[in-house]
Symmetry: C2
Subunit: 238 residues, 2 copies
């Protein structure tokens, strides 16, 4: 089976091996198209296809006019979810507690639920909601997008109020009892690629978070995090 493998795969696998075993360290230049054709005795099509595949995997990055280089693979920063945190962006809060400077912008607007949110919040599709978009930056780099949805009647009337969902709910006689977070991975939408400054081939972690009061969901948010820089850590007491 390995005999009739496509030739570009030979190139891909050889370079991948060299990156993995360290003989091509981060930042090292990859041979150019012309060099690859000579080195592996393949056509230019195969050479460039190999480079494209490796770039698509995020292992190397191409710089026009310069060459391809092994991507620096920053250690994944761990966003720790180690206890209940009453904060619009618990993951950002964790970075802050690690001593990093975190800044953010936000913007609120009224909206209607629609089918997806109606399901998530167990409300009617035309329920009036407040939608708040956040963009968080840590150490100057974009770090997370968050979009929060909550019923209009709970809207915050001051910065203080906005920061604490739990306190705001409590003022309406609602006690939040559980937070549920659902993690999956997907391809970033174009707007997210822009906002998070993502390289090609990088996926995002998408967390759907819902605050529950008993058996009733009262707020839900979508949190989008660059998949190449972060991991999310959950602690569960036994």
């Amino acid at each position: 089976m390995a005999t009739s493998d496509p030739v570009y795969l030979r190139v891909v696998e050889d370079i991948r091996r060299q990156i993995n075993d360290g003989s091509l360290p981060p930042g090292a230049p990859i041979p150019s198209r012309a060099q690859l054709t000579r080195k592996y005795q393949v056509g230019e099509t195969a050479a460039r296809h190999a480079l494209r595949v490796l770039a698509g995997e995020g292992l190397i990055i191409g710089r026009v006019g310069s060459g391809h280089y092994v991507r620096e693979r920053p250690d994944l920063t761990s966003l720790h979810r180690w206890r209940f945190l009453d904060h619009p962006a618990p993951f950002a809060a964790d970075l802050q507690s690690q001593g990093r400077r975190v800044t953010w912008d936000w913007h609120s607007e009224p909206t209607e639920a629609g089918p997806d949110l109606a399901r998530r919040l167990r409300i009617g599709e035309s329920t009036a909601l407040t939608k708040t978009r956040y963009i968080f930056r840590g150490d100057g780099r974009p770090l997370q997008l968050a979009t929060s949805y909550e019923p209009r009647e709970f809207a915050a009337h001051s910065e203080e109020e906005r920061r604490s969902l739990v306190a705001r709910m409590y003022a309406h006689g609602i006690k939040i009892t559980e937070i549920v977070e659902s993690v999956h991975t997907r391809i970033p939408r174009p707007a997210e690629s822009d906002a998070l400054d993502l390289a090609a081939g990088v996926h995002v972690l998408h967390v759907e978070r819902t605050h529950w009061a008993g058996d009733r969901p009262v707020e839900t948010s979508d949190i989008v995090i660059p998949g190449d820089r972060f991991r999310i850590t959950y602690s569960m007491p036994v």
Copy 2:
């Protein structure tokens, strides 16, 4: 800026739009290379590149001899982590509790820690460990790979013993107090693509799970889950 965009992007964006707004429903055929060149007045290179990009994103799938089709996007199955579960694969256990048939194979072998595991388990690099690989299948399809590492002296001597880490540890006077799971996303290694039967462009969710006894890690595992079929859900009581 949109004027000098590469032509293949025009094709990509038009098809993506049609998939998103439903005019190309799941299973619908995408025009062939030849048809695309005519329809969008582009060369064959641009047409095939557009198809490749869309396939790389997992939006469409190419079948040799037949054509490209809009991928069926199964709803993400939620693997629920809603309470402490003493099971080699809590995510598989959750599927089971959803009424799906889950089967698995496993295989144990002795190994040495090495630098990475030494760090994770806070032990010396040459500590003797037992490595157990699992492959879980749900409804006939591969669902999760897991590799568990634990100190050799805790090895299970029977099937019953193997199933409960907590009981086994307890027999050694060790009480597990916390489970920490760290989630990130990455490109599957070739062996994982094979074993999990992943389509091109699909990422995996990689969960590093560690069982702690007080401030001492006693077991750690790597759990690899197809990113296109599952989401992981964590519940946190407030």
